[in-house]
Symmetry: C2
Subunit: 351 residues, 2 copies
DNA sequence: TTGTATGCGTTATCAG
DNA sequence: CTGATAACGCATACAA
């Protein structure tokens, strides 16, 4: 009843051959007699032999598995990205080991250590909102670990990064609100240090500037922990609503924050867009059903996962270090509920 | 620049010791001189030594990783369950390797083979809707692989299973529709062979019977592929709407089907509950924001993942075969939007 | 207390 | 064409 798997040795013994011969037969090696080969293959099939992947890993110094670290699995954006990651990994015979940072630097680093130390061949990561110190990523990368960053990237490490055009997404969203007649547009972003926050806030500011509206930093709120808990978003929203001059619209810059805003506005009995304007990043497949109609900015999460994995496997298998700074950019999709749907998607390589 | 990790051998060489001594020092073994131990530990710390988990796995015949197979990662129910799984695994030092069947039997079996053959210590699985042949699970289990089924379980294998009280959930939902005055209640379920379909349909029928309504099998539709693609749900919905006597309400028996119904009804410009009643299983964190108010049945997915993992780790670590048939049951939560929120949760052990 | 030898399952190298 | 041997990194039974 014990779980005893069959090994090459078992086959060798049963057939009166040496393990090396059996190995060669299974590997379809060049020098092997057809009869022996047939014999071995048939017997292996019969007793349902499968090579032990761990032994293979030890020998080949590769685990054929890639690590993934995201803030939260149960978040539409990330789960869609993981879907894409798994798809490509599966096609290429790789396993996907997932772990979540829950926006905690400490937990991220523990997972990082845990996954690395040679049990993964490469890493795909979207950094935690708390993370300010990227030296461990840098060290790991310098030691030769293939890494691809996605969504929340780390500047200063010359490896692949997969992101949407966050600047443009936020710009478009802000412009949409402006065109709808909103004037005092507030923005709620994830932690200030994150690449996505910086880029999105920059797009927001640019849109305001282009419409001749003076930016006002008191209208910008950050959620230090990525809005992981509702009270954090509530504080931001309440802070905005209690301002002397109340903003007339909110731009929510992540999935989590958009959802948070929806709940809080609902609890405060504020309807969108009559009482207050709202547009936000969201990847839920239900946002388009939310009433009153809510315009959203949707990221091509699945595709980002696919692309990131393709690049990572390329890095892993070519074994060559990335010598040039490459970034793939995809445009996020602005889904306007009141007007037409604007679907643009493109790849841009920037240097 | 190559990724050369430091090994015990490196430490041994540097310190002029044997690998076994170093190993013992690191393992905090019984007989080892304090000085040597200190020396080794400090040096290991200094050069950032981490044991190679693959070598450990080979030697200990355990990988400290568990496999998870679900239909789709990008599905709220499953991603929440995976969240729970990862939480417990993380706490216990286990890795989680995920893969998706996409409701395909073939892909499920490939993943199964892939994950097993000794690279995982245990398996948590929710079977694909296509799967009718469970012999591979049975064989695997008989060979000693610890397995825990969740949500979509397999009868006839005496191992742990984690499910909600599907019968009761569907019963409550149906009763809710009946109490709202709906008479002709249709049901759309996942593949007929699935445990969840059978249990939920049974609950649905029982509620009808208890209200003196004769069950009508033409009002029950199944999605052979779990409603993975929208057209499949559309066919079911359209079929129902085109019936001579059109049903006045729909009970959607999975997340995917509920979302599908919402989209299809919307495209047909039918509003809920004025044009047609609707209640469904859903785990999205946005369903409660959908307008008009939609009542849903929400499963404790996160907790199910946690419990399944706890049980699995117990199986793995105790190494004893499950001798008694155990099933943990949790009541699903009926979230009634129009009335009060009914939150009941309990553990029931059935035999 | 420490060192030597062995094995976990596999493949590559080198003899035969 | 096939077999013996070493090695991947680690832990342990056995020797010293």
């Amino acid at each position: 009843m014990k779980f005893e798997a069959v090994t090459i040795k078992d086959i060798a013994k049963a057939l009166g051959l040496s393990t090396s011969t059996v190995s060669r037969a299974l590997r379809d090696s060049y020098e092997i007699s057809p009869e022996t080969k047939k014999l071995v293959l048939e017997y292996a099939e019969k007793i349902n032999y499968h090579p032990n992947p761990i032994a293979l890993s030890l020998r080949e110094r590769r685990s054929r598995s890639i690590g993934v670290i995201v803030a939260e699995i149960a978040n539409s954006f990330f789960s869609q990205a993981i879907d894409g990651i798994e798809s490509i990994a599966y096609k290429n015979g790789y396993n996907v080991i997932i772990s979540q940072s829950r926006e905690s630097f400490e937990r991220e680093q523990i997972n990082l250590n845990y996954l690395t130390s040679r049990s993964i061949d490469g890493l795909i990561i979207s950094v935690a909102s708390e993370t300010k110190d990227f030296s461990n990523f840098k060290d790991l990368y310098d030691k030769g670990m293939p890494i691809v960053f996605f969504d929340r990237i780390v500047a200063g490490i010359n490896t692949h990064k997969v992101i949407v055009d966050n600047y443009q997404g936020a710009y478009d969203a802000t412009r949409h609100l402006l065109e709808k007649g909103f004037k005092q547009i507030a923005a709620i972003a994830n932690n200030e240090v994150l690449s996505i926050s910086k880029e999105r806030i920059a797009g927001y500011k640019a849109a305001l500037a282009d419409h001749g509206i003076k930016e006002n930093d008191t209208l910008i709120r950050y959620c230090a922990h990525g809005g992981l808990i509702l009270p954090e978003v509530e504080e931001a929203v309440s802070g905005l609503l209690n301002m002397p001059v109340r903003p007339d619209a909110i731009l929510a810059l992540t999935d989590k924050i958009t959802t948070g805003c929806l709940y809080i506005l609902k609890s405060k009995k504020l309807t969108v867009p009559d009482d207050i304007g709202l547009i936000g990043f969201s990847n839920s497949d239900l946002t388009e059903l939310i009433g009153p109609p809510l315009s959203i900015i949707k990221q091509p999460a699945f595709e980002m996962g696919e692309i990131a994995t393709g690049l990572l496997l390329q890095l892993i298998e070519s074994k060559r270090p990335v010598t040039e700074f490459e970034t793939k950019m995809l445009a996020p999709q602005l889904v306007l509920r009141e007007s037409s749907v604007n679907t643009k998607s493109k790849h841009v390589k920037i240097s």
